[in-house]
């Protein structure tokens, strides 16, 4: 049996789209068929979204994008004004991005572990597995403790996940987990510094949830910090109202997809005639045939009045291949040249206060 150290010896390294000019490659794909053509069209729509300076770009993250080597891509999108708000699963933001921001790493699992043959052994070693990737569960527990510590430092009241995640960004900044200090950059930090709000609509479903549960348990019977998911929804709707033209760049489906699409309807309910999302891209391998939202077409979303039909594109590809091509295309075409940050977090301050 391998030791823990032997198993955790090859770090996941995040791809840097700035190093790979894929413009000609993606342009060539536009004249082919199947997924390559769809990918090229999606890249083109993302470019349009960015050139439309009115457009607020909402990045949706499901699956395990950060641990899979896409952290730097997302950081770059934030740092280069290519995304204005993020809606994510908690796993991407807390267990993976914040975790790496604290200095921990993800590791490459050998192919023999991919299909479950070694899971009993991993359990004994306290190694967690995400398909072909390893995490040191002891480090994850330390990450849980940091979220508990942050929770304990807060005034007891309901918070949107967005507010809580901003506190995580502040924690990183105040504790020197920054590039200036020789540490790696992170999505939570970059978003904090660029006033890009991050929403996790199912926030307790991650490492932060463990910290919050520990906090509420320790203080049972007393006032506690709580996470108001309705407030999340209200805040994101406010952004839609403040910035009517919107585009969605969705990696995977799940709750983030549903949540971001729903704000069009929510705005309507608040009495504001909101336009549908003008642009929408989704990268997913989910199947439409089970009727679930993750694989449902963007055309279906248009029947709900959520997504406009003109500039929408599904791309049938696992994200780690398609995302560097689509975002790298927009980056190297300098599509965000005319954009300055929308600083959406500042828009929400009156809401919060």
């Amino acid at each position: 049996m391998s030791t823990k150290k032997e198993l955790l010896n090859q770090q996941i390294q995040h791809i840097d789209i700035k190093q790979h000019n894929v413009v000609a490659l993606v342009d060539a794909m536009a004249h082919m068929a199947f997924s390559s053509r769809d990918l090229a069209r999606a890249a083109n729509i993302y470019e349009m979204m960015l050139r439309d300076t009115e457009c607020g770009v909402i990045l949706c993250l499901a699956g395990s994008m950060v641990s899979a080597g896409l952290q730097k891509v997302i950081v770059d999108l934030v740092r280069h004004n290519m995304v204005d708000a993020i809606v994510s699963t908690g796993a991407n933001i807390v267990d993976q991005d914040f975790f790496e921001a604290l200095g921990y790493k993800h590791y490459i699992a050998g192919d023999e572990y991919k299909y479950g043959g070694g899971d009993a052994e991993l359990r004994e070693l306290m190694i967690d597995r995400i398909y072909d990737t390893f995490i040191d569960e002891e480090e994850l527990r330390l990450c849980d403790e940091v979220t508990e510590k942050i929770t304990n430092s807060l005034e007891t009241r309901p918070y949107s996940s967005r507010e809580f995640i901003a506190e995580m960004g502040r924690y990183l900044k105040e504790n020197g987990r920054t590039p200036e200090n020789g540490n790696n950059d992170s999505v939570v930090l970059a978003a904090y510094e660029k006033d890009v709000p991050i929403f996790c609509p199912a926030f307790s479903d991650c490492s932060a949830g463990f910290g919050l549960v520990a906090h509420q348990h320790a203080r049972r019977g007393k006032p506690v910090v709580s996470i108001d998911s309705a407030k999340d929804f209200y805040e994101l709707t406010q952004l839609k109202i403040a910035n009517p033209t919107t585009g969605l760049l969705m990696l995977g489906g799940g709750v983030p997809k549903n949540f971001a699409q729903d704000i069009v309807v929510a705005a309507d309910i608040l009495g504001v005639e909101a336009s549908m999302h003008k642009y929408a891209i989704q990268i997913t391998v989910a199947d439409a045939r089970d009727g679930a939202l993750s694989g449902s077409t963007l055309k279906e979303a248009s029947s709900w009045g959520k997504v406009d039909l003109t500039y929408e594109q599904m791309v049938f590809s696992e994200a780690t291949i398609a995302v560097p091509l689509i975002t790298g295309y927009a980056f190297h075409k300098n599509a965000a040249a005319a954009r300055t940050g929308k600083r959406f977090s500042q828009v929400l301050e009156p809401v919060t206060a």
Copy 2:
């Protein structure tokens, strides 16, 4: 162009597993290969789970199960002590189950609508589409209004989604939306009456979210009803602690799967040595190869210490086919004969108070 009335003329009817004895069929499948054998093993594990009277059975619902004709199956599981807690997406519980409880229906969409050809037309008619199913959006808006009304009637404080959904059950009971009154039975009502708690960890991501946003908007600057997703997690963890032997019956993946699996770790964090889920079944067509949780194997979950390896089974099938066979098998084998309801909602009352 068809009229709205023409399009909404054929109701979805819920299958009644009590009418179909599938025991011999499923037993025959145990000796075949591929999905049929897996399905038979899952049915067998579900039977074991129920015969193990110590076991608290947690039903997880993602996708669109209720609108697809599985409402009565879930009601029957609740009424016959075959499930002790439910973790679900909001869509299943509010937009679909509560919606039907209010007297509205889902409709069969013609095949020509399935691939998106008619979505612009549907948009104009205010018909929403879930793959091959239609919903009257005007009725959905009325459902939103009921959730707003319920919200407005509550004391302003943070609620777990479980508490809020119990209020929805109370509403149905008090307003006579019951079988006793000649109306259809529903999951929300049955769970309310049987003290089966229902959790929606991403609760604002549904029709109730619209009601909550309207409530918070109307009362901005004043105390509001909020939905504390951390409390959800804390409550479900309490159930795991109170009833250590647990089994998962998961229809689809997504947040419900993750949330229900995570309570093992959460209990551990609260200092309680919690056993892994002893039994676990998941019915899904999601692919493992994108690394996302929905399609991740239950073996992978065992590396996280969440699911025991002995009695776990994935079934690769769209749920509307597999669920009637698996649940019907356990029902007709009378597997729950020795079970009385665990009344988990009552366990949570001291937590809530």
Copy 3:
């Protein structure tokens, strides 16, 4: 390490649709959504196909249907006049059906073998694996030898695969591999007795191929038995011309699907205005998005003039679950009551001669 005997100890047993009346179950599915509704419609179309006594029913088999426990289903379809011609991969017909007809068996593989963890061990033991099923490779070699023996007994000329497989049927009959003799029934035997032609358009791609290669190698430089795939195509086209109304029941995609669809065009090329396949059902989990034929919709086939749009249905399900339901439905509704065998093999005799 387990012994070969330990690993090959649990036989695959073939499901008997005659024992399971699924009519009410499938009828209930017609009012649901997603795959259950599609499955019910497919069952209904199969019933229509059979009640239309003009219709020649072509069964297409890809994947590993026989080894998976569907052998008896196919035998029953043949014996009860529910199929008039078969187009298949060689694996189903030779490696699996003929193999079992010779008295060999398929075995259930433990779950731990399913994902490849034990394949090196299996290789050493000469056990072949099909996902979750084991085959004794030494027995498979014996099967190869029988096909070589049959080949050597034939006059040297080009044969259609249909002619060759009829010889395999004759071999079974003459060697007493029949139910009358206490042996199991088989597709090859039943089809031989009922004059149901079986075509394997890629015939050398199976156990028979090994026999044929051995034959041609031993006789190199001399006249040999050859397998003329063009003759296959010509013969199947003749059937379409002789019996213009046709329906397809396709389990999986691949070459059989393509081949059977193509005969409409081939008839046209021979100057016969052939009608499209009037009915078409396909059961598959293949995805449409890779553009490959296996997952391509039957609507796409209609653009090629191959399949009529009125009575076509794709069912998204792994075959071992859906096939017993669809065929069992038609069987228990006695849909073939008015049909007598079409004896298509006799139609082809003048072609052959």
Copy 4:
């Protein structure tokens, strides 16, 4: 309704991997997770396969690769000694590659046609659809006629598909359908000139099949040209025997995958201790869970003694995205520098004679 001319106005253009240096991009993917890492490993294995100058590289083609814009990639692999034999579906070689070699084109279909909404209209216009690609059926009929003409010009005897396809190459050369004459290059021509044999084990299942059926019909009762699929298998096995070290580069699954894998066993049956395929790569989105060969893992193939476990990699991606990256990587790393053509067609001449 659009006219045929309007619908067929945007040609598919084939990607040129020589123009896109993807080495750094693919190298970066090696340190990520999921499909990107698998893709990088596959590229690396393809590079190893080419640097191993003993290795005979067999390219397997299923699906619609040529019409999708990969024709030039395959031509480049042939022209640059990066492939030594091809096993393909007939569609890729005849309906698509030979078809384009005759001067016809494939066209981009608008998104609104992708899901089948316009298929009745296409049928009327004699436009055939492959997912998102259009073909002029009248041109396809002209292609059928050329294959009939070639068939009629041949001596009547059984041919391997390999021999027949070589005749198609000769036809192109003799009729000036060559780059030297200002026409596009093609796989059939390049393979003819480079002595790269092309096998289509289910040869009649394509445009050539229509020509062959017409030929056999016109000459019924007389000696005809026939296509001996056993001879195909025998010939490919001879290559395995003549060149024991082999590697497989498989785009899609189906018959080509099975056929190419099987030659290891066939060689064994001929009394030659054949080594397993030393290298194997497959690019596919097929699912393993239906037990069919297309999605079966290469580990499963190792249980059959067909593929070695050391250098095998499945890549879960639609081919149009992954193929330019994998082949482009090997091209730009100049992996074939030390290779000269193996001229496998010449090896087969004594077999043929």
